[in-house]
Point group: C2
Chain length 230, copies 2
């Protein structure tokens, strides 16, 4: 194997291990065994577990960001639902690693100690994924320059999606399909709450729902909410 | 001053400095100067900046948790709004320190390097505040044993409140009073979305709004949303 090929193989093996258990619990020896090479050879390609972890995290970030890509066709509710489904696929595949990362743990405790530079790298990767998600949503809304209120709604919804996924991972006591739909509805609900007090957000909300079909996910939510009213 | 009195004074001085600038930028020398004592004397009471930071964080956590306490009287919307107002007071008072903490930065980079034990301490303090918020909300809802769906709604809303506060700190481009009200409405909206698909949550929603006055915050939101409908 060439150098780059070997590096890519090691990243894949490490990402797989870091995804299945908390990265703290994964040793370089284990990665070497899984890759079928010696421990010194792993160190030949990566100076330590931290750099291998960063490389694996970078690959996972790119993978996740790619899953946000969704054609700009058809009802918005259905588009968001497909994205949420792929998001939960990702969370499902990388469960323990995702949870540890979001809790700020492995970033620091891989090898027992984390440097400031490493934390910056980790935060920058997480931010790049959040930024990709943010830009995708704005593109689907047809907005080039978001107002402070819209930016706040979209970014805080992204964090709601993260915390919902993390809570789901902890016991999986609610079916994930239900949460994927719930998050799509939460997005509409947060936009609606902001629209109730702001004219620009109200215009956006109207545009958001105007192409929704009568049997679409947003229409169903509204119907169900009306049915709940006394 | 007695030992405990001096420790408490140093914690107060440090918390004040850690709140006004990112904790990374605050030196032990500065804390010593602000406290009117020598640098070696600071080290006599606290082995290093990390331990002083932890003590300051503990005091801030207790302060924040105490602000969630709210008498169980009157409409729920008004109670939540008072809590959100005190929450934003706290965020306002401790802005840079709050932002740095939530980004996982200072926990690690105080002194350049953070230990695994320190990260655990920091995470445990953050978790204790979230848990206090969670229990307060359940108490206001009159729920002793939350279902997985209710737990998810309440805990994910708490994280929504955190991210909204962090986004607000970054430029303060939306008036905080608007966001305090928005978060109260977001809570009702997230409960409503969950209630649309779950009978137990629907029962809870009905109970939540049954004592709300016709001119209360929830009624106003519903009125405004109905006015938006085409």
């Amino acid at each position: 194997m060439g150098v780059e090929e070997r590096r890519q193989q090691l990243i894949g093996v490490a990402l797989d291990l870091f995804s299945r258990r908390s990265p703290d619990e994964v040793s370089i020896d284990e990665i070497a065994t899984a890759a079928g090479i010696s421990r010194p050879l792993v160190y030949h390609y990566f100076p330590g577990k931290l750099s291998l972890y960063e490389a694996a995290l970078k690959r996972a970030s790119e993978d996740l960001a790619a899953r946000f890509a969704e054609p700009h066709e058809g009802p918005l509710g259905a588009r968001l639902l497909r994205v949420m489904c792929r998001y939960f696929d990702f969370v499902d595949e990388h469960g323990p690693g995702f949870a540890a990362l979001m809790r700020g743990g492995p970033a620091v405790s891989a090898d027992g100690i984390g440097t400031k530079a490493h934390v910056s790298t980790t935060n920058a990767l997480i931010d790049s994924v959040r930024q990709a998600a943010y830009e995708q949503i704005l593109a689907h809304l047809g907005v080039l320059d978001a107002s402070p209120r819209l930016e706040l709604v979209v970014r805080s919804w992204i964090s709601l999606a993260e915390s919902t996924a993390l809570l789901w991972l902890d016991g999986r006591r609610v079916p994930r399909a239900e949460l994927e739909l719930q998050l799509v509805h939460d997005f509409a609900a947060l936009v609606a709450v902001s629209a109730a007090y702001d004219a620009d957000m109200a215009t956006l909300l109207k545009q958001m729902v105007k192409d929704e079909p009568a049997d679409g996910t947003f229409a169903e939510l509204v119907g169900r909410l009306i049915a709940l009213a006394p």
